[in-house]
């Protein structure tokens, strides 16, 4: 599609090339990793930043949106107070500060039996967990991450271990820096794990965080995973989660997007074994001139898989919400059951919501469906609440929270759901009434 080499590079692409040249000698990894970085950067450079003619990125034209790229974070570790976005949620915490895993800031209590390692150790040992899933993705941001990844964390849950305490992987950016991190999570057969992935940074700092997480979920394992993107208001968030789910496993994933000026959150889920079930949920709450793009790819590579997708988005101000969802049912993947629903709620006339659902079905005995709606707050419902004496702001908050709650509660984890619903209520409390 874009085979001929491009000669003109945008300033951001030039900065990235300079950054790679400057950093490659210092980035962690053995000789194999170093060689893979060069291959990856060459591949990135050939195509450049994704743009509007790159189908998967058509709504998030990074070539136009990414005017400049901030510098790498300082080698001297930053020391900052880390806000608690989820008060009341009991969890262990693995802190990734400016892309580097920081055991000194982390809390591993309740994780007995779980192996937690810095990414640099895996790279230095050429550990095959890194790239096992991301290596299969043809995506410019993943490729760039493979070239530039500086740190991150690896978590391994042995077979059969039931980790009851939630684990937060807290990505914190301390300022206007470019951050490239890679996390690797491996859940053994029959094990269970609850993950909360958070992304935060200061307001007014034009950071760019390119974070890739690879998760391999074993047979009969049960994993609940909630992502909270609450970056600072000038940040660019480029997050990718690549997951493989084993036979008879259950994987529930929620993406809540509320921060950053520009954000793109991609999730790619591949069925590695039969009778696996995935629930994929999203709740976006944006206003002002925020741009939030969710990209979902579900690959039913084997028969008898089930997936449920429910993505909700609330847009205020001049915000742009985007959802692209693609469900693929491979040849022979019979008895697949996949249903995808997307619903947008526009709180302002200048807000927009773009949806592109795609089903690619190459098996004949499947049940797949998708639907999408977009609209304003239901005037009849609003009047019903007002007529009972609820103030307008409270009535709107109740309706919007209820709208989002269906997706948040889909995760099926009461404690995490409650913490995330509080974030939704706080966001709504921070905006004025619509009238």
């Amino acid at each position: 599609m874009n085979a001929e080499p491009r000669i003109l590079h945008t300033p951001a692409e030039v900065t990235l090339a300079d950054a790679f040249s400057a950093a490659r000698g210092d980035l962690p990894g053995d000789a194999g990793v170093a060689a893979a970085r060069v291959v990856a950067f060459d591949a990135f450079q050939k195509k450049g930043l994704p743009h509007r003619r790159t189908e998967a990125w058509r709504y998030t034209d990074l070539r136009a949106l990414l005017r400049s790229v901030p510098p790498a974070p300082p080698a001297e570790p930053a020391s900052i107070a880390i806000a608690d976005l989820l008060p009341g949620l009991d969890r262990a915490r693995l802190v990734i500060l400016d892309g580097i895993y920081r055991p000194d800031l982390s809390d591993l209590s309740g994780l007995a039996g779980v192996e937690v390692t810095g990414l640099d150790t895996l790279l230095d040992q050429g550990d095959e967990r890194v790239g096992a899933l991301a290596g299969r993705l043809d995506d410019a941001m993943v490729t760039l991450n493979t070239a530039m990844m500086a740190g991150g964390v690896a978590v391994r849950v042995p077979a059969g271990l039931d980790v009851t305490r939630a684990v937060e992987i807290a990505h914190v950016t301390s300022g206007a820096y470019s951050v490239f991190a890679r996390n690797v999570v491996t859940v053994g057969a029959g094990a269970s794990l609850r993950v909360v992935e958070t992304f935060t940074g200061p307001n007014a700092a034009a950071s760019v965080a390119n974070i890739v997480t690879e998760a391999v979920i074993g047979d009969r394992a049960k994993v609940t995973w909630a992502k909270l993107q609450a970056e600072g208001d000038a940040a660019v968030h480029l997050g990718t989660t690549a997951v493989s789910i084993g036979g008879e496993s259950q994987f529930d994933h929620l993406t809540l997007m509320t921060g950053a000026a520009i954000s793109r959150s991609q999730s790619f889920v591949t069925y590695g074994g039969e009778f696996a079930r995935a629930g994929l949920f999203g709740a976006t709450m944006i206003g002002g001139k925020q741009h939030a793009d969710i990209m979902l790819g579900v690959d039913h590579a084997v028969p008898n898989g089930a997936s449920r997708e429910l993505f909700k988005a609330v847009m205020d101000g001049k915000a742009e919400g985007i959802f692209q969802g693609r469900i693929v049912v491979r040849p022979g993947a019979q008895k697949v059951d996949g249903k995808m629903m997307t619903q947008g709620l526009l709180l302002s006339e200048d807000a927009s919501f773009s949806v592109k659902p795609e089903l690619e079905i190459f098996a004949d005995d499947v049940q797949c469906a998708h639907g999408a709606t977009s609209g304003e707050i239901d005037e009849d419902m609003l009047f019903y609440l007002l007529s009972r004496g609820l103030p307008r702001a409270e009535a709107e908050t109740l309706l919007v929270t209820a709208f989002l709650a269906e997706a948040i509660e889909g995760l099926g984890d009461e404690a995490i759901g409650e913490a995330f619903e509080q974030i939704a209520r706080d966001w709504l409390a921070g905006r004025k009434t619509l009238a």
Partner: protein
């Protein structure tokens, strides 16, 4: 006709619970209310009957303060106070309650959460203390039992999956808990079987009180067998065209609305 009750309404006998004068209301270019005059003294139950399209439901929405209607002329005095410009939520706090013909299903909003939010919002607007949770629970339990509203219904999202009868019972439950001064019942009998009609009517009758007025809007006479009004008004083509005692309802049942439809169109 109501000399005794009008004393209760005020020292001068002039302040009515509801006093509508020459009310005109339009949606877009279409005028639906064309000069409604109506007075409901404190403590009385008035019925408004009329054919479909006569403006009955519009009147109920306009009284409750729904957006989307242009009030082009006239006044609505509630307890002597002009409320035409008052937003719906403030009217509710002042004591106006509308039982909807089609109560809305609101997924994701728990019935109990909604009831508590509504009761406390009105109390707050009136400068009263919020209810404690035990006090709230007790009030709901007492009112729900009378209306045969089960705990299971209360646990569900507001009206979601409720039958027609359950929705109407839930409306009267809200009315009982919110203790309005003026209750407007819009086609509360629609969609009810005989048993449900009796439950709902008993619930409404239990709420009749010397300091509470009701406006019962209905197409059919049968509701008025159960909720016997003090006065019956006939509405046609956006006006009250005739008023009388309860016997007027029986006359309409026997003769239909044909006379009024013709007269109003003329």
């Amino acid at each position: 006709m109501t000399a005794v009750r009008s004393v209760a309404a005020g020292m001068n006998g002039q302040i009515k619970m509801l006093s509508i004068k020459n009310l005109h209301a339009s949606v877009g270019d279409r005028e639906i209310l064309r000069g409604v005059n109506l007075e409901v003294p404190t403590g009385e139950v008035h019925a408004i009957m009329g054919p479909n399209g006569s403006g009955k439901s519009t009147l109920s929405y306009v009284l409750a303060g729904r957006d989307g209607y242009d009030i082009t002329d006239g006044s609505i005095l509630f307890g002597g106070e002009e409320i035409v410009e008052t937003p719906a939520e403030e009217r509710a706090a002042k004591g106006i309650f509308l039982a909807f013909q089609y109560p809305l299903e609101i997924p994701g909003v728990a019935t109990m959460t909604f009831l508590k939010a509504a009761m406390n919002a009105q109390r707050k607007a009136r400068g009263e203390a919020e209810l404690t949770t035990p006090d709230f629970m007790r009030r709901v339990k007492v009112a729900a039992e009378k209306l045969n509203v089960t705990q299971e219904m209360l646990r569900r999202p507001l009206n979601v999956g409720f039958s027609g009868g359950e929705k109407k019972r839930n409306e009267i439950l809200q009315m009982a808990l919110l203790e309005p001064k003026l209750a407007i019942l819009d086609e509360t009998d629609s969609g009810l079987d005989i048993d449900a009609l009796k439950t709902v009517s008993d619930g409404v009758n239990a709420l009749r009180a010397p300091d509470r007025s009701m406006l019962v809007i209905t197409h059919y006479q049968r509701l008025l067998d159960h909720i016997v009004p003090d006065v019956v008004h006939v509405m046609a083509a956006g006006r009250i065209v005739r008023s009388g005692g309860p016997e007027l309802a029986l006359e309409l049942e026997a003769n239909g609305y044909a006379d009024y439809v013709g007269a109003a169109a003329a």
